[in-house]
């Protein structure tokens, strides 16, 4: 009973945050509501007995990734989004499609209500040790592959985010400044 109440509580927060992400027009608010969603999701994970996942969810998602988003928003000083009518397809085809898909899925799910025990906090079948055992034994190869993926992502991010003239300067240290200004101009004029 308590379990159900908690689930509904955090679920409500989740949905509220998700909807708020949609309705808010300023990216900062969207980001914050997303953080709320993630935090309450972590609570849901706790309800499901996945403590480690919950902790990592908070640390990685809420603590790191969303901070990246926040930094980007601040850096680019993104303002309210203007409501341009760029794409009729998205509204005329996409939204109905999503609605149909959602309805279908919900229908199937509700049609097959399978009651199941959910583990409450403390019942430690998802202990970090077991996860580590899985992660470093059975899933070693995917683990390594993802690590390589991360590495590549880091390098790509560095290359992408560093200014072209910065790269040029790194390559040959005596790059005249006006050249870099030209680069910026060419970058900006289309």
């Amino acid at each position: 009973m308590l379990h159900l109440i908690l689930f509904l509580f955090f679920g409500a927060i989740c949905v509220a945050g998700a909807v708020n992400l949609l309705v808010q027009s300023h990216p900062i608010n969207s980001a914050l509501s997303l953080i709320v969603v993630m935090a309450s999701l972590a609570a849901e994970y706790l309800l499901l007995g996945a403590e480690f996942v919950a902790a990592v969810q908070v640390i990685v998602y809420a603590g790191a990734i969303m901070v990246l988003f926040l930094i980007t928003i601040m850096l680019l000083n993104a303002g309210k989004e203007e409501h341009t009518k760029g794409s009729r397809v998205a509204t005329l085809i996409g939204v109905p499609g999503v609605a149909i898909g959602a309805v279908l899925v919900a229908w199937t799910l509700v049609g097959r209500l399978s009651t199941t025990h959910s583990v409450s906090i403390g019942a430690l079948w998802g202990a970090p040790n077991d996860i580590a055992r899985l992660l470093f034994r059975d899933f070693l190869l995917p683990f390594e592959v993802t690590s390589v993926l991360i590495l590549i992502a880091i390098m790509g991010a560095v290359v992408l985010a560093s200014r072209p003239e910065a790269i040029a300067r790194r390559h040959h240290s005596t790059a005249p400044p006006q050249e870099s200004r030209e680069l910026v101009a060419t970058g900006k004029d289309h």
């Binding site: 794409s87 397809v89 998205a90 509204t91 085809i93 996409g94 898909g101």
Partner: protein, 670 residues
């Protein structure tokens, strides 16, 4: 069957030479090129001599398996070589004459721009020819068969800038393809019924079958198909038309490929397949008839030709006809014997003719020659030897071989007096036109003008022939003052060949040659038996027939002497009186025109209208183009989905996802 590990060297040496010259010859000096070519070809000759020295009928045949090739189930074909008496003879002839002609070519082709090409081609030809000769199974033989076809194509069209040469090369190639088609079908039949292409297996299998006296059976079919192939390669009726045109090639080529070796491949193949033919009398008869008719037919054409090489070409055709006649009557050894002698004297004739042509600056028309014996005595002497030989004067080589053939045509169980009669007539005609050529070329007085003038006046081909190939190695090409003798590098082979064609026939005295080849041809033994049996009856007739044929030769000589030496104006009048017949003969009975009307034109028209305009443009191209245009239209409309807007893409994806979900749900519900 004894293993001889050196067999494979013989063909491979010329191949190495060809590769070296072909790849690097462009950068090498002509001396290096000739050295390479001669060394490798000579090495092959030396190997052949070694093999011959070590050859003993007791341990024959020798074989060597070079490598595995096709292996599927029980059927297997390997790169394996095979040496028995027959292939030994061929081996010696090919390598020997080939080597001499290589030497000759050094002098003849020296000033040609494509010298290294020429030498490389010659070596390549040697490789394929030796493969053909040394093959242990029909497929390897077929490789050589096709390879010599390729080499002859390359060499006929050697001066490919000349339209007539290129056309002649194509003609030769295509006609040969027709023959090879028959050959291939024969091979397929063998594979189907004997599950092998190996000579020993096939013949062993054949020998178990009964002789197809009544009706047409498998062996007859195979034999006829093989004969088709042989007719293509050896220029027999109806596929002989390519050989005269093949004279567009350089004269050494004509000598080596189109007189001495390649064209005799058909004879060799038939002789090699003797086991099959012996059990297919009908096929034998066809072979004999074709041979006889070809001999007579070509000889008659030869009378009216004025181009010296054309005359020789037709005489080649008719001599090949003799060989086939021999094979047809079951006297394979006689055929091979004549093949050998013919290789000597016909090669000699061509080389001498080449020396003449190149001595008077590329002129090939006999009417512009004459009186050359003073200018080029050596050529004259050797040419005389060759002429007397081919005419069949004793005791020269052809005398023995031709008589052998005629006697066998008369006496052998498959023979009849008709063959003999036609053969004798052919012999008469042969000696006539050969002496005509002899007189017109070397006697009387020189009718040719100075070289560079008749360059303009003479046939379109001749000048370029002269310019590219025919000019003298020592300095004066165009515009040299009058005829002159050729250099010794060319005369040497002439002399050697002259000696060979003088004494070459003596190996056949007393049937030694036949005995030597006996193990190869089963019937050989029977022949000998029949020989010894009909000794008493046969001797008299044989001598009689011999006298008759010699008489025919003498008669031909006298006629030619009368017409072209004592009364040179007479032939014109005769020609005029004969009128249409002469026209027909001089135009080779309009055979080429006939073929053009019968086969070529329908083929071209059909291809043009039906295949090209109809099928190709109407169906294939149309399909391709229309589908392309359709695709362009469709995509032109479809590309508007590519709005470049991220959210539109997302919209499409969402719709697609909805569809997928709907499908899955539906599947789940069902």
């Amino acid at each position: 069957m004894t293993l001889n590990p050196y067999l494979w060297l013989v063909p491979l040496l010329p191949l190495a030479g060809a590769a070296l010259n072909g790849f690097f010859g462009r950068r090498w000096s002509k001396h290096v090129i000739s050295a390479v070519a001669l060394v490798f070809c000579g090495a092959a000759f030396a190997m052949a001599l070694l093999l011959a020295a070590g050859f003993s009928s007791a341990s024959a045949p020798y074989y060597y398996d070079l490598a595995h090739w096709l292996r599927s189930g029980t059927f297997q074909v390997d790169f394996s070589f095979y040496l028995d008496q027959l292939s030994l003879v061929m081996l010696l002839v090919v390598t020997g004459v080939g080597f001499l002609i290589h030497i000759y070519s050094v002098g003849y082709m020296w000033d040609d721009d494509g010298y290294y090409r020429f030498m490389s081609y010659l070596n390549l030809f040697m490789f394929f020819m030796l493969t053909l000769v040394l093959a242990k199974n029909y497929l390897v033989m077929f490789i050589g068969w096709e390879g010599v076809g390729l080499a002859s194509y390359l060499l006929i069209g050697f001066w490919f800038t000349k339209d007539s040469a290129a056309a002649a090369g194509k003609k030769a190639f295509i006609v040969n393809r027709i023959g090879d088609f028959g050959f291939l079908i024969a091979l397929f039949l063998m594979i189907k019924h004997f599950e092998s292409l190996d000579f020993t297996h096939v013949f062993a299998a054949v020998r178990t079958l009964p002789t197809e006296t009544a009706g047409v059976g498998l062996l007859t079919a195979i034999g006829l198909l093989l004969m088709v192939g042989a007719a293509g390669k050896s220029a027999q009726i109806p596929l002989y038309v390519w050989l005269p045109d093949a004279m567009e090639g350089p004269t050494p080529v004509s000598a080596l490929i189109h007189a001495a070796t390649m064209v005799t491949a058909g004879v060799y193949m038939v002789a090699r397949s003797s086991a099959i033919f012996e059990r297919a009398p009908l096929a034998m008869m066809v072979v004999a008839i074709i041979g006889t008719l070809t001999a007579l037919f070509a000889a008659t054409i030869g009378i009216a030709q004025t181009d010296i090489k054309k005359v020789l070409a037709y005489s080649t055709v008719s001599q090949l006809g003799y060989m086939f006649m021999a094979c047809g009557v079951g006297a394979f050894s006689a055929g091979i014997f004549h093949l050998m002698t013919h290789a000597f004297f016909k090669g000699l004739l061509f080389l001498a003719a080449g020396s003449v042509i190149h001595g008077i600056g590329g002129e090939q028309d006999m009417r512009k020659m004459g009186g050359l014996r003073v200018y080029m005595p050596v050529t004259f002497l050797t040419m005389s030897v060759a002429t007397f030989t081919i005419a069949g004067f004793p005791p020269l080589a052809a005398y023995f071989s031709k008589d052998e053939i005629l006697w066998k045509a008369y006496s052998s169980p498959n023979g009849s007096w008709v063959y003999w009669l036609l053969g004798v007539i052919t012999a008469f005609i042969t000696s006539f036109y050969m002496f005509r050529l002899w007189f017109m070329t070397f006697f009387g007085d020189y009718r040719g003008a100075i070289a560079h003038e008749d360059d303009k006046s003479s046939r379109a081909g001749a000048p370029s022939t002269h310019a590219q190939g025919g000019s003298a190695p020592h300095g004066h090409g165009h515009g040299h003052g009058g005829p002159h003798e050729s250099p010794w590098v060319m005369l040497g082979p002439l002399v050697i060949l002259a000696i060979l064609s003088f004494v070459g026939g003596w190996v056949g005295i007393g049937g030694r040659f036949e005995h030597f080849l006996a193990p190869v041809f089963q019937s050989g033994a029977a022949e000998i038996a029949h020989e010894t049996a009909g000794e008493t009856a046969g001797k008299g007739t044989e001598t009689l027939l011999m006298l008759i044929s010699v008489g025919a030769a003498v008669l031909g000589f006298l006629l030619a002497w009368t017409l072209y030496f004592r009364r040179p104006q007479l032939p014109a009048r005769i020609a005029a009186s004969l009128g249409g017949l002469y026209e027909a003969v001089s135009h080779k009975y309009y055979i080429d025109e006939l073929y053009r009307v019968l086969f070529i034109k329908p083929l071209i028209d059909g291809s043009t209208t039906i295949l090209w305009h109809g099928v190709d443009q109407g169906v294939i191209d149309a399909a391709v183009n229309d589908s392309a245009t359709a695709a362009r239209h469709v995509s032109d409309n479809a590309r508007h989905m590519q709005s470049g807007n991220l959210r539109s893409y997302a919209g499409w994806i969402a719709a697609g996802g909805a569809v997928v979900v709907a499908y899955m749900v539906w599947m789940g519900v069902r």
